[in-house]
């Protein structure tokens, strides 16, 4: 109890400073090229550059926070950070709980990655995906057996060790892996799922949403968003 009181007092004291608005950007940090942790331990990637530019245009001070994918939405709605910028596709299911800005990527081309030279039954085999992603619900509906993992890395591991026949994920995430590893190759056609990636915000944060919407629109208009998409090889440009 004593600890509790001291800690509460400490937090209360340190909270005295001014009230200028800082926007806390929540991300996963495990999904290159969208977001990852670089060699210096900082958040980097397409969304880092995009987010910093959006904050500059919307004249906001932004701070980056990493959070587990599983608890990323509950922590947003309870106010631990203010946005989710984590390669999260806009879906109706998520839209019921949180709000999205307009999309800053085209609908994801998702692709199947499997061991090179194998024939995979995409609608009847075992397909891996990250828990709570659009790919996971797509597989569940396709009739294939869905094998879910907490992190993207583990889904690739499952294909390598034969646990899964293939993995379904954003093509932009799989591309560098396929390029690096001769044992892995794309199979089947890419599928378009979801309504593109957008920033997630609390439904009550309409003002912040408008600021980011305007900033994204201005980046779409002057072509700087397309330049970023090309630089990070995210996929189709606008």
């Amino acid at each position: 109890m004593k600890n509790l009181m001291i800690a509460t007092a400490l937090v209360a004291l340190s909270a005295g400073a001014g009230l200028a608005q800082t926007v806390r950007m929540g991300t996963e940090g495990a999904y290159p090229p969208y977001n990852y942790i670089d060699d210096n331990g900082q958040v980097a990637g397409f969304e880092r550059e995009l987010g910093d530019e959006l904050c500059k245009r919307a004249e906001l001070t932004c701070e980056w926070v990493t959070n587990d994918w599983d608890s990323i939405i509950p922590n947003l709605v309870s106010g631990n950070y203010d946005t989710i910028i984590a390669g999260m596709s806009i879906t109706d299911e998520r839209d019921e709980v949180i709000d999205f800005t307009q999309n800053y990527t085209q609908p994801d081309p998702s692709a199947y990655l499997a061991k090179a030279g194998t024939e995979v039954d995409l609608t009847g085999g075992v397909i891996a995906a990250q828990t709570g992603t659009i790919q996971a619900s797509y597989i569940a509906q396709s009739g294939a057996t869905l094998l879910e993992f907490a992190t993207p890395e583990e889904t690739i591991g499952a294909v390598r060790n034969g646990e899964a026949d293939a993995v379904l994920a954003d093509r932009a995430y799989l591309e560098p892996i396929a390029a690096e590893d001769a044992d892995l190759d794309f199979t089947g056609d890419s599928v378009l799922i979801g309504g593109g990636v957008g920033m997630g915000l609390r439904e009550s944060d309409a003002e912040l949403k408008e600021k980011f919407n305007a900033a994204i629109q201005s980046m779409k208009d002057d072509g700087s968003l397309n330049a970023l998409i090309t630089k990070w090889e995210i996929g189709e440009t606008f």
């Binding site: 340190s14 608005q21 942790i37 060699d39 331990g41 106010g79 631990n80 890395e153 560098p176 609390r202």
Partner: protein
């Protein structure tokens, strides 16, 4: 770190490794060991206090207090840890913010619950939205300590409750025959003697606690397992200066060594405490010690 690290792709062997192991990311890994150790050092005594409170309450002669103690032990032990970390912590955080909101913003007219959202005025945020990152991390850490303490406190309460029951009744009777009050016999006779019965159970809890820290990342606190998984994952040249394959085995191997070493140290310390507690007790261990000394 080292001057020759500016072009890592030209390096090989040990010099590559020395650069690789001193990147900013690895420093985060090393610091997270400290996080875990501090967490354990703070949580263990706090949990023990919760446990002692719970156990004393559960055997109280005042019925409502006994119900409270038993309800705490029963309910918290029954709820899965992960559910506790996903929901209880967020609820706890919201309770703090709600209390601050009531005090700091009395003339706020919007509802606090708006659909799924929990909205309090900016001044009631904990920590404040513009607080530096370390304050947020400290706060997350504080919530983690509190949550771990509540969970492990409930288990400890059950262990201590059993230990209190295990102290021979004759001891208490003798104390009362000497004219000690209920309170006196509790503090002077029961509590000093119960630890020897509690220690095996408590040491189990300690071992489980050591390995429970990955739950921290659910609160955004990065522990050693998070960093091991992050650093060990396949790294393609596009996103790092130090590309490598799936090295998680090596990182988890290092964690294994850490955990085993830590367990070993714990065992040695616990053995020593056990020897100290056994001295003069009416248990088999105490009897053996007495014979060895004679």
């Amino acid at each position: 770190m080292f001057p020759y690290c500016s072009a890592p792709d030209t390096l090989s062997g040990l010099s590559w490794l020395s650069c690789y192991l001193t990147t900013g990311k690895h420093t985060s890994l090393y610091l997270s060991f400290l996080t875990v150790l501090v967490l354990l050092a703070v949580t263990a005594p706090v949990a023990l206090v919760f446990g002692f409170g719970g156990a004393s309450a559960a055997r109280s002669r005042f019925a409502p207090l006994a119900w409270l103690g038993k309800a705490y032990i029963g309910i918290v032990r029954g709820v899965p840890d992960i559910a506790f970390f996903l929901f209880f912590v967020i609820a706890l955080d919201q309770a703090f913010e709600y209390a601050r909101h009531k005090i700091k913003c009395p003339d706020w007219d919007q509802p606090i619950r708006q659909g799924n959202d929990f909205v309090v005025c900016a001044a009631a945020k904990l920590p404040l939205g513009d607080a530096p990152q370390w304050v947020h991390e400290t706060y997350g850490f504080f919530l983690a300590v509190l949550t771990f303490s509540i969970i492990f406190g409930a288990f400890a309460a059950n262990v201590l409750y059993g230990a209190m029951q295990a102290v021979p009744q004759a001891q208490i009777e003798t104390a009362e025959a000497y004219g000690m009050s209920h309170r006196q016999s509790f503090w002077r006779i029961l509590v000093p003697q119960m630890w020897v019965y509690a220690l095996p159970g408590l040491s189990n809890l300690w071992m489980v606690l050591i390995k429970a820290t990955p739950l921290l990342f659910l609160l955004g606190v990065e522990d050693i397992v998070y960093w091991a998984r992050e650093l060990g994952g396949t790294k393609t040249p596009k996103f790092t200066d130090y590309p490598h394959g799936d090295w998680r085995m090596w990182y988890f191997g290092a964690l294994l060594v850490f955990y085993l070493a830590f367990t070993k140290v714990s065992e040695v310390v616990l053995d020593r405490i056990m020897r100290r507690l056994t001295r003069g007790q009416a248990t088999m261990g105490g009897e053996a010690q007495r014979k060895a000394a004679a």
